[in-house]
């Protein structure tokens, strides 16, 4: 099924709307520090070994507070998505765009956008292999995913 571009309803958006920029908090700062260096970081429990995302101070598997940060491989597969036709602030110029959830090679899932490939049902195939890349927004580097093996 094709996904023809449908204009959003309502008034034209004001020019130069910025995409949302995350504001780190003390518990998430190491994640965003990693992104700034081009590194996708996850946490891992030193007691039970479980890797996890999103950043949290205790292990969601066993409750241990003995957790550590580690660099993830950046490899992932496309788990599920929608192609959004009602753009959020800052996305008005993108046309219909995929809001995706990827399964990281280490196990956890995260939301992302898929770049470097048309955001259509024909091109976005579930379980396709993806690789992390980063987009600078203000002071923050946001992790996105593109086709595995594509030039960075």
């Amino acid at each position: 099924m094709s996904a023809p571009g449908t204009p959003a309803r309502g008034k034209p958006a004001p020019a130069a709307q910025a995409k949302p920029v995350p504001e780190p908090t003390p518990d998430t700062q190491p994640f965003w520090d990693g992104c700034a260096r081009g590194e996708l970081r996850l946490q891992r429990c030193r007691d039970c070994g479980k890797p996890y995302f999103y950043p949290r101070p205790i292990c969601p598997e066993c409750g241990s507070a003995d957790v550590e940060w580690f660099p993830a491989s950046g490899r992932a597969t496309l788990y599920s998505y929608v192609i959004n036709h009602r753009p959020a602030r800052g996305f008005e110029g993108d046309g219909p765009y995929a809001i995706a959830v990827v399964q990281l090679a280490e196990g956890p899932r995260m939301m992302t956008n898929v770049v470097g490939i048309p955001n259509t049902p024909e091109d976005l195939i579930l379980d396709m292999e993806l690789q992390v890349t980063f987009e600078q927004r203000g002071d923050i580097s946001v992790p996105l995913f593109g086709p595995a093996g594509a030039a960075r």
């Binding site: 949302p20 504001e23 788990y79 599920s80 998505y81 959004n84 036709h85 899932r109 579930l126």
Partner: protein, 382 residues
């Protein structure tokens, strides 16, 4: 549950109108629903000694507007299922002696947004850091994300997903208060505007204004009211994840399953005992997840079950008989309206009445599959 400490719904009513109500503030909707529900029970406002509603505007504002000083307050706010949790908590409070007669109110200017609470999501919140940067724009672009995974794993077709809206429109056609009543076909649904592929406009709920309220009290007073008591036979509540990306399993609702198991166990029923079912339908896939989570069908079979006509008028399992959020009304926190229809069916006063409803089950959703409350309502004490 023993009969001597049973709890009932003694009063239930919606606002005089639902739909587009730009002349009502959020609080006016609460107050009108509250007045209607208390009158439905044949009580006076001074008989109410407990108040529950979501934390904005909250029970203090509502009680103060109603001119009462309750001895029990519940501001549980976990999304659109909150009112099912209020019923559960009210039942416990009444059994504990903390209150005798609890008023639960909902009012929401979801469409006109008069006196409405802004949607809060700061850039430093966890969703603000890990979902908003990817262009989520409310439930249409996030609640919908799991279904593609479900389609791949279980073979649900686009036509079956569309048929959920077709089946519910058949119920709405029998409900004069429903916003949309004209019959639709699968082709109509698939030809409607894309909102978030694979979801089209007619697979997404309405956005309306309205309210509803309930009066909950002890079953030993069941004969004191003008209308038949609706017995609260079982209740459950649970949760999954605060963000859709962290939902434990994209092909099933853990919250629905756990809340349903708790409610069925307390009521001592199985799916075979259920005559009527309400499943919160913010989007067309939610009833599919609900049917499977509560065991009404096997995993992967609910789409075909609905497409085969089992849940529409004349089917074996009448589902969302007011037309649901897809066709009746959806203020944003729809759970109150699902309860209201369950009550009407048990009282045999619904617009599209199902014959012989002894047990109605109401399945609520909060957030994006984040929370759930389930109620088992019965004509008899159990």
């Amino acid at each position: 549950m023993s009969r001597e400490n049973g709890v009932i719904i003694a009063g239930a009513a919606e606002t005089n109108q639902v739909g587009k109500l730009p002349g009502y503030s959020t609080l006016q909707l609460h107050v009108e629903a509250a007045v209607n529900a208390v009158a439905d029970a044949g009580l006076r406002m001074r008989d109410i000694d407990g108040v529950a509603t979501v934390n904005a505007p909250g029970p203090v504002q509502v009680a103060h507007e109603l001119g009462i000083t309750p001895r029990y307050l519940d501001g549980t706010g976990v999304g659109g299922t909150s009112f099912l949790l209020h019923v559960r908590h009210a039942a416990a409070a009444i059994r504990a002696g903390y209150a005798s007669t609890v008023l639960i109110t909902h009012g929401e200017s979801g469409r006109s947004r008069v006196g409405a609470t802004p949607f809060p999501r700061g850039a430093s919140s966890i969703p603000g850091q890990f979902e908003a940067p990817y262009g989520t724009a409310g439930p249409t672009s996030s609640f919908t994300i799991p279904v593609l995974r479900y389609m791949k794993e279980y073979g649900l077709t686009h036509e079956q997903l569309a048929y959920v809206a077709v089946a519910q429109r058949k119920w709405a056609a029998r409900n004069p208060r429903a916003m949309f009543r004209d019959p639709i076909t699968v082709d109509d649904v698939l030809a409607s505007r894309l909102v978030a592929w694979p979801f089209h406009l007619l697979e997404c709920c309405l956005v309306t204004d309205g309210g509803g309220a309930l009066v909950v009290t002890s079953a030993d007073r069941a004969a004191d009211f003008a209308k038949p008591a609706v017995h609260i036979l079982g209740t459950g509540e649970s949760m999954d994840a605060p963000m859709i990306s962290q939902m434990a399993d994209f092909t099933e609702s853990k919250a629905f399953r756990l809340a349903g198991q708790a409610a069925f166990a307390e009521a001592g029923i199985t799916t075979a005992d259920v005559n009527h079912l309400m499943i919160y339908d913010a989007f067309a896939h939610v009833p599919i997840y609900g049917l499977e989570a509560l065991g009404f069908t096997a995993k992967g079979e609910a789409g075909a079950f609905i497409a085969d006509g089992n849940t529409e008028p004349g089917g074996v399992l009448p589902l969302n008989t007011n037309g649901g959020g897809l066709s009746y009304t959806h203020t944003g926190m729809y759970g109150m309206f699902a309860i209201q229809e369950g009550v009407r069916q048990v009282r045999a006063e619904a617009a599209a009445q199902v014959p012989g409803v002894d047990i109605s089950v109401v399945v609520g959703n909060g957030g994006m599959f984040a929370t759930s409350g389930v109620l088992v309502l019965g004509r008899q004490p159990g």
